[in-house]
């Protein structure tokens, strides 16, 4: 497999086709809009925190005690289920008050350019800064109402307090807390497809997890986002901003379920090892994603699965026998004998492990779920899934082999275990081991019944498995779907109505995105940029459009 990988590498440089796996069957020009309409999107904690930071310069995190969002499809921004509840509402109100006070204390001149604070300044505040808070210009009703608030508060408490009250009301208003994507224009006509300001918000919350900046709102106002080039220009601008780096980290956290590092306990790991392992993994992923040096594999799926990079801090460096010198908190090293891409990262390996031993099952399931988008059917509910007790006379593989030798388990475990056994060179902390309990480790494995048969077949160890995944169209397709789910905050719809009907916009958009990334050698940043251009990103769902047209 390694030779094939090298061969493909050369192919990328020459721009030729080298990817393993079937491309979509035919070029299709028409797609059916999806019919999933989840309704207004409530800001998540991350979005709220970044939004008030970018709007107000708020330095603290007001969301620390906000209740968490529901987890759907691994993400936390599912518009259908992330709805307000009493606890969250209390936080929204008290946070609005505290944020408005904080803004006042830092001084209005950060937010609005006024010679003196008064009614004229309030008007100016709403027209300039208000449009940033609501991510679009205010309507007449909205503006009038907020000026009435100013007029009610000002006589008793003064202009400063009145302006504070106006900001507080805006921060507690739905125009701020929700992203509404089915707004009618003031004349009552449905904006279709997405209105320019709606698209601007979609773009900034996708690439930044935060509110549009002034330049993006200007581009929306001037109609530049209606044009593919204008949209692409803005997408590239946003992606080159540090805020995009935060957002890519957020994606990686969701994709791999890194919340589970909280309170992680692993035998032989120092206390708090979870935090170090999480950061190590995120740094690796940052490194792969953002690297744009001259190497043609930089920033690609290939690098994701084959980079030898390992990040360590002083707490975990000894675990992996990594050199650690000097004073910087994190240090990168290449460890080409032990580390070969994502699958060999200590963070990933320890996440998918038990406290005191590796977990071939969890690791195999991870590959099926997160890399192949091919979840394994359910085990029967009465299954005994206790990990076998560590037995000093056996390897983990031998113990699990006994565990799943039962023919009733074998039906499904043949899809999981051979994958997971390929990870056996790495223990519960992701430390490399050639021997376990004095016995040689057998890390031979196999991919069985993958949705793409070209992935099937036996392999020996993670290096070989990673080489195979690194050039798989299916893996890129799966990662693209995950990015789409993250971008759209809804369940994707790939199922065509019947064999002869049009593919869904989601399916078309996925195929276009994968194709565009493949054109760039499987570049990961290209996945985001290409997806922005697709109908799934630029249009709203069909059901709502129908409702708008025929009320």
């Amino acid at each position: 497999m390694k030779r094939v990988g090298t061969l493909l590498l050369a192919c990328f440089a020459l721009g030729c086709e080298g990817w393993v796996g079937a491309p979509p069957e035919d070029e299709v020009s028409e797609c059916r809009p999806v019919e999933v309409f989840p309704g207004a999107r409530l800001l998540t904690r991350v979005e709220y925190r970044r939004t008030v930071r970018d709007l107000l310069g708020e330095p603290s995190d007001p969301t620390l005690d906000f209740p968490p969002e529901p987890t759907v499809n691994g993400m936390n921004n599912d518009a259908r289920t992330h709805v307000v509840n009493p606890l969250l509402l209390e936080h929204f109100l008290s946070s609005a008050r505290q944020l408005a006070r904080g803004a006042h204390e830092r001084g209005w001149d950060h937010l609005v350019d006024c010679a003196e604070i008064g009614r004229g300044c309030a008007v100016r505040f709403l027209d300039r800064f208000g449009a940033r808070v609501y991510r679009r210009p205010l309507t007449k009703d909205e503006r009038d109402s907020l000026l009435r608030l100013y007029d009610r508060v000002e006589p008793g408490l003064g202009a400063d307090e009145a302006l504070t009250a106006v900001l507080e009301a805006m921060l507690a208003a739905p125009q701020f807390l929700y992203r509404v994507e089915a707004e009618r224009d003031e004349d009552g006509a449905g904006a279709e497809p997405l209105g320019a300001y709606e698209l601007a918000s979609r773009l900034s919350y996708f690439l930044w997890g935060s509110t549009p900046d002034e330049e993006l709102l200007r581009a929306a106002r001037d109609g530049e986002l209606d044009d593919a080039n204008g949209l692409d220009h803005q997408a590239r601008r946003l992606l080159s901003d540090p805020r995009a780096r935060e957002q890519v980290r957020e994606f990686h956290r969701r994709w791999l379920g890194l919340d589970r590092f909280k309170g992680l306990v692993r035998q032989d790991g120092p206390e708090g090892v979870g935090a170090s392992l999480e950061e190590s993994l995120l740094l690796f992923l940052d490194d792969v994603f953002w690297n744009d040096d001259a190497d043609p594999t930089s920033g690609t799926l290939d690098a994701l699965f084959r980079s030898p990079r390992l990040y360590v801090d002083s707490a975990i460096a000894p675990l992996y026998r990594a050199p650690f010198e000097g004073t910087s908190a994190w240090q990168a090293a290449d460890a080409p004998k032990e580390r070969h891409g994502l699958l060999t990262q200590p963070g990933l390996l320890s996440l998918f492990a038990h406290t005191d031993q590796s977990s071939p099952i969890a690791r195999g399931v991870f590959v099926r779920d997160k890399l192949l988008c091919s979840p394994v059917p359910a085990p029967p509910p009465d299954v005994n899934n206790t990990p076998p007790d560590p037995d000093p006379s056996l390897t983990t593989r031998e113990r699990f082999a006994v565990h799943t030798a039962d023919p009733s388990c074998g039906g499904c475990h043949r899809w999981i275990d051979p994958l997971g056994f390929g990870f056996e060179n790495y223990d519960q902390l992701g430390r490399f081991r050639a021997r376990e309990n004095g016995l040689p480790v057998d890390a031979s494995g196999a991919v069985v019944d993958a949705p793409d048969p070209t992935l099937d077949g036996s392999f020996n160890g993670l290096f070989e498995l990673s080489d195979r995944l690194a050039t798989s169209r299916l893996v890129l397709d799966c990662l693209t779907r995950t990015w789409m789910t993250f971008a759209l905050g809804r369940t994707l719809e790939f199922q065509a109505r019947s064999a002869n009907s049009l593919p869904t916009a989601d399916a078309c958009s996925r195929d276009d995105t994968v194709a565009a990334s493949l054109d760039q050698g499987g570049n990961l940043r290209e996945v985001l940029l290409a997806f922005v251009a697709t109908p799934a990103f630029r249009q709203r769902a069909a059901r709502e459009i129908l409702r708008e047209v025929t009320p």
């Binding site: 009610r152 208003a173 739905p174 406290t355 359910a378 708008e548």
Partner: protein, 442 residues
Amino acid sequence: MKTRLDRRAWLRAAGCGGLALPLLDGAWARADSPTPPLRLVIVYTPNGTVPKDWFPVNATSETEFELGRILTPLAPFRDHLTILSGINSAVGLDPANPGGPHQRGIGSLFTGERLGSGEFKDGCGQMAGWPAGPSLDQIVAQLIGGDTPYRSLEFGVRCYDNDVQGRISYSGANMPLPPMNDPSAAFTRLFHPSTPIDPNNPDGRARSVLDAVHEQFSALQKRVGQADKEKLDAHVTLLRDLERRLGLGSGEHCDVPDAPPALDPESEDDMPLVSRAHLDLLAAAFACDLTRVASIQYSTGFNRIRYPWVGSLGEGHSLSHAGDSNVAAWNELTNRLNWHSSELAYFIEKLRGIPEGEGTVFDNTLILWGSEVHQGNSHALTSLPYLILGNAGGRIRTGRSLTYEGRSNAELLLTLARAYGYEEPTLGAPGYCDDVLSGLLV
């Protein structure tokens, strides 16, 4: 140092004191009322029980029995317990309903509801949404929670699954109530509601801001589609409820508890301290009449939590899947549940220390403890381990071990709801709730 909390102070601290002053006279009548308020707490622990150590032993009648090993810490309150067996999640057992066993179990445990369709994945791959109706605590909160600042409080100990497997309390269909995992945040919410107040004219200002917020809602509502409108409507409804609640006072003068120590809600080491802090806060909230309804949720089914303080180093969900012959694993599970019993014993003792009328707060409280499956390794939704502690002002018969073979848990929930004045003929999903359980209501 203890501080006193009085109604006015709470209102000032809550920040919206003047909002609903006209309501106060009515709400405040409780202090002079001869009948003390009723209270309800639901408690969840994950992955079922160890039946041999949970159910009574050497039982000769419904009142003559010995407590199983798990419940021994509750022995001082034996006369206040009713141990229930044979009660099924009828709605969960019906294969026509969506979801996997963990989802159906916890989804129906306190609701008697079927799950809607949705995208939450069971660990085993089945898909489901939220339950299609409210949980017992919220049904009761609607009946008895309206006169307190918080209609209910939800506490959690290491609850990190934010889906149907991670919630026990629902205010309605698709309306889960997330638990508070951090005692410090809960303390601040209850006893130092945020937001500094302008000393000059707090009330008029706050009212004006909220009026403007309502106007912003109205302005937006006119311009959106149906699905958006439903979400915004739900938000406005909660906002109105919050405004009403902020107009209500705390109960009688009461001691504000000391702030809990700074704890890491995610840490294994702090877990027992978090539990205690939550229980202390809830007892204080009852004493101050900040709420009358609460839930306490200990983690979730798919947890990997260890309980080293009782010598249990297995990870929760895996441990609960141990085969029946795995004596060591089952012993660990018994020890864990025994610890949960002692937590509840501590809580009861705490409530018994708060005088109320002729007796104590515990006299007017009922705690319902349950788990989503019978035992972890079978995931059976039959004979769910339900335990009643306390009698809700003498409305429920206790000191008993009662078997209701094959009855639906919705019927248990209906029976308990009756004690709080619920008058509807059924509770939960249609078709799984025929009648109250006989022999429970006094």
